[in-house]
């Protein structure tokens, strides 16, 4: 079984990973951890001062570094819990939904796991846009792990 886990820094995403760690998986299961880096909006050099462009480039670099560390830590955590299983990880760049769906197809995932905030009241009527986009368009099973309730 091939399990693709989409992670980010949010608490609900951490809960999704914890749920994977707690479960029993067949020995032949393979895990792939991915995190998607959405490029910062860029409106052309004419509206920015050189200082601002430098800051954007620096912020993007820092964000990418954080994502790489997150994926590396999660891969190591999975390897320590599921020693016999194959675990890989990668940081992708682009639209989050598209990246997750493309990766699941290319890698041949049987299950995609991602976190979503549990909601209350009016916002309960909506699922996160990434969770909804992935669950609705994937060609494999999708598990949405609900985190703590947010208002």
């Amino acid at each position: 079984m091939r399990v693709l886990i989409a992670v980010e820094e949010s608490p609900c995403s951490r809960q999704a990973l914890e749920s994977v760690l707690k479960r029993h998986w067949p020995e032949e299961s393979q895990f792939r951890v991915i995190s998607v880096m959405e490029p910062m909006p860029y409106y052309g050099p004419e509206i920015y001062s050189p200082y601002v462009i430098d800051s954007i480039v620096q912020a993007e670099g820092e964000a990418l570094e954080r994502k790489r560390k997150l994926v590396k830590d999660d891969v190591e955590m999975l390897r320590s819990h599921h020693v016999s299983n194959s675990v890989s990880g990668d940081v992708l760049s682009g639209d989050v939904r598209k990246c997750i769906l493309d990766e699941s197809k290319e890698w041949g995932a049987d299950l995609i796991i991602l976190g979503s905030h549990a909601r209350k009241g009016f916002s309960k009527l909506f699922l996160g846009s990434v969770a909804e986009g992935v669950a609705g368009n994937a060609n494999c099973s999708v598990e949405i792990v609900k985190g703590k309730v947010t208002h």
Binding site: M1, S19, R23, H24, W25, P26, D110, L111, A118, K124, L125, F126, L127, A131, E132, A135, G136, N137, A138, N139, C140, S141, V142, E143, I144, V145, K146
Partner: protein, 165 residues
């Protein structure tokens, strides 16, 4: 761990159970197979003959749902003898009943089919599974059986071959 498996009366439910049964589950896992049969509004059926026919059809659907759930229960129990499996056939609105069962039973997870019967068509995410995924108080897995995915891939390959020819 408490897991709800929501299935309808179609054969698709069997594929979902086979996919789930193939996985590893902790021995203390309790499954509840739920099937909800939506009743026809009897008040709208004026002709007595039609009302009688509708009622008998509804009873038949309910019996089919019960038989299917019991069959699925056997499959799960055979694969996972340490787990407990309950069957729960209900009447009413599927999304309300599934969500109500998840709240009442304090389920940890709901497994529900994505629902797409036409294997070659682009996948349509069903209204019930979408509503359940959105409003559920617990984790939800939209299950797409292996057979379905492989058939989709097969269809896509055939279409590609036709295009190249």
């Amino acid at each position: 761990m408490k897991v709800i498996i929501a299935v309808d009366e179609s054969a698709y439910g069997k594929k979902i159970i086979e996919t789930i049964a193939h996985r590893q589950w902790q021995p203390d896992t309790a499954f509840r197979i739920i099937s909800v049969v939506e009743p026809v509004s009897w008040d709208e059926v004026e002709n007595e003959n039609w009302a009688g026919l509708s009622k008998s059809m509804f009873e038949k659907r309910k019996k089919n749902a019960t038989d299917l759930c019991l069959e699925l229960k056997k499959i799960l129990e055979t694969q996972h003898p340490d787990c407990t499996v309950h069957v729960d056939v209900r009447e009413g609105n599927p999304r309300k009943e599934i969500l109500g069962a998840a709240i009442d039973w304090m389920a940890d997870k709901i497994l529900i089919g994505a629902h797409g019967h036409d294997l070659c068509d682009r996948f349509v995410w069903g209204g019930v599974s979408r509503a359940v995924a959105t409003a559920a108080p617990c984790s939800v897995e939209i299950v797409r059986p292996y057979t379905r995915r492989s058939k989709e891939e097969h269809c896509a390959k055939e279409q590609k071959n036709e295009a190249t020819v």
